[in-house]
Amino acid sequence: MRIKLTAEPGSARNNKTGSWRVERRPQFLQKNCSACRMCILVCPEGIVSGKEKNSFKTDYLYCKGCGLCAAVCPKKDIEMVPEETESKK
C-alpha cells in the first residue's frame, strides 16, 4: 500500500470546525466598533476579518464559538448569542 506523506499547505481548511459550535456564536454588532483589531489578534482560528470601523466579521464555517473575540472587545461590540438567533452578520 502506498500513502502520501506530504499535505497541501493550509489543507486543514477542508475541516469545517464551525460544526463544533453548539450553543453560542459571536454576533458582530458593527455599531460602536473603533477598528482596534483586538478581535483579529486574539481569534485562535484566525478567521476574523475587517478594516474599517464597523466592518469586522467572522467566518462561521470555522468559528468554534470560543467567545474570546467578545471577551476582548473594549467597546462590547461583539455579543455571544444563542446559535438559533437570526441575522448572521
Binding site: 502520501k4 499535505a7 497541501e8 499547505p9 493550509g10 489543507s11 486543514a12 481548511r13 477542508n14 475541516n15 469545517k16 470546525t17 463544533w20 489578534l41 486574539v42 481569534c43 485562535p44 482560528e45 484566525g46 478567521i47 476579518s49 467566518d59 470555522y62 468554534k64 464559538g65 470560543c66 467567545g67 474570546l68 467578545a70 471577551a71 476582548v72 455571544m80
Partner: protein, 295 residues
C-alpha cells in the same frame, strides 16, 4: 499569500491559547520559515492526516527530537547558502522542551545553530491527558498529581527553563504570553533578526487542562503576568535587558480562582499552600524587578 500562515480547520480545543500563540508567532516570523515540531497538542491539532494547517514547510519527527532535526535542517540550509533567506523554528510544548526534549535542545544551543526555539508552556502534558511536567506549577492538580484529602497537588517547583537557556550563553532569551499578543510578535521579530540560538518561552493557557471557560483564555494569561507568577522578561547576552513592569500588582488568588486545577486551594486547610504560591510570586517580583519600587 493567505492572511495568516496557520490556517483555520485545525482541531485545537475552542479557546486554546497554544493555537493562538502559534499563529501569532508564525505570522510574525513570516513565510520564509521552516518549522520543526516536537510531538504534542500543537503538532497533533495542526496536522490531522491527510491535512495540514501550516502554510510553510513543517516537519514532525518524535516527541523528543525537534531540536536535533532542526539542527540538521539548519546545517543543510547553511551548506547550501540559503540561511540568509530561510529561517528555522524548532518548537515544542513544556514537556517537549523542559523534560524529554531538553538534551536535544541543550545540544542545539551549545552548537550555536541559527534557530529560534519556542516553548508553548501550558504547564502539563496536555495531549496525553494532563499529566504533570517539569513546568507544572507547585500545587497544581493534574492527572498524575491529583489533589485529594491527603494531597494539595504537584509538590515540586516549576523548573526555571528560562535561566537554563540563559546559562547556555545564547544571545537572546525571552518570555512572552498569549495575553500580550503584540509583545509576543515583537519578540519573535527581534529574535529572528539575531543570528545564533534564540529561545522564547510562551505562556499559553489551556482551557481543557486548566479547567477554565474558553473565553477566559486571554484574561487568565494576563493575570499570570500581573500577579508575578509568570514574569515577562528578556535576556540579551546573558544579562536581563527587559521586563514587563506590573502597573497594578494583583494577589495570586485572582489568577488561581477561575481555574479548576487550583480549586482545591480554596477549601479549608489549604491556606498554607496558597500562602506559598504568593511567596513564589513575591520571589519572582524581587528576582526580576517586576514592580517599580518607590525611590
Amino acid at each position: 499569500m493567505p492572511e495568516h500562515l496557520l490556517s483555520p480547520g485545525h482541531t485545537a480545543c475552542a479557546g486554546c491559547a497554544q493555537s493562538l500563540a502559534a499563529r501569532l508567532v508564525l505570522d510574525a516570523a513570516g513565510p520564509n520559515t521552516i518549522i520543526v515540531n516536537n510531538t504534542g497538542c500543537l503538532e497533533v491539532f495542526s496536522t490531522a492526516y491527510p491535512d495540514t494547517a501550516w502554510e510553510v514547510p513543517f516537519i514532525h519527527s518524535l516527541f523528543e527530537n525537534a531540536a536535533a532535526v532542526a539542527s540538521g535542517v539548519e546545517a543543510a540550509l547553511r551548506q547550501n547558502g540559503k540561511l540568509s533567506e530561510t529561517r528555522v523554528i524548532s518548537q515544542a510544548g513544556d514537556g517537549g522542551t523542559a523534560d524529554i526534549g531538553l538534551q536535544a535542545l541543550s545540544g542545539m544551543w551549545e552548537r550555536g545553530h541559527d534557530i529560534l526555539s519556542i516553548c508553548y508552556d501550558n504547564e502539563a502534558y496536555m495531549n496525553t491527558g494532563i499529566q504533570r511536567s517539569g513546568l507544572t506549577p507547585t500545587y497544581t492538580s493534574t492527572s498524575t498529581s491529583p489533589a485529594s484529602k491527603s494531597s494539595t497537588g504537584n509538590p515540586r517547583p516549576k523548573k526555571n527553563v528560562v535561566e537554563i537557556a540563559v546559562a547556555h550563553g545564547i544571545p537572546y532569551v525571552a518570555t512572552a504570553s498569549a495575553g500580550f499578543p503584540l509583545d509576543l510578535q515583537k519578540k519573535v521579530k527581534k529574535a529572528m533578526a539575531i543570528r545564533g540560538p534564540k529561545f522564547l518561552h510562551v505562556h499559553v493557557p489551556c482551557p481543557l487542562g486548566w479547567r477554565h471557560e474558553p473565553d477566559q483564555t486571554y484574561q487568565i494569561a494576563r493575570l499570570a503576568v500581573e500577579t508575578g507568577l509568570f514574569p515577562m522578561i528578556e535576556f540579551e547576552n546573558g544579562k536581563i535587558s527587559g521586563r514587563y513592569l506590573i502597573a497594578k500588582l494583583k494577589p495570586v488568588e485572582d489568577y488561581l480562582k477561575p481555574q479548576g486545577r487550583f480549586r482545591h486551594l480554596f477549601k479549608p486547610g489549604a491556606e498554607a499552600a496558597l500562602k506559598e504560591i504568593q511567596e513564589i510570586a513575591n520571589r519572582n517580583i524581587e528576582r526580576y524587578g517586576l514592580v517599580k519600587t518607590a525611590t
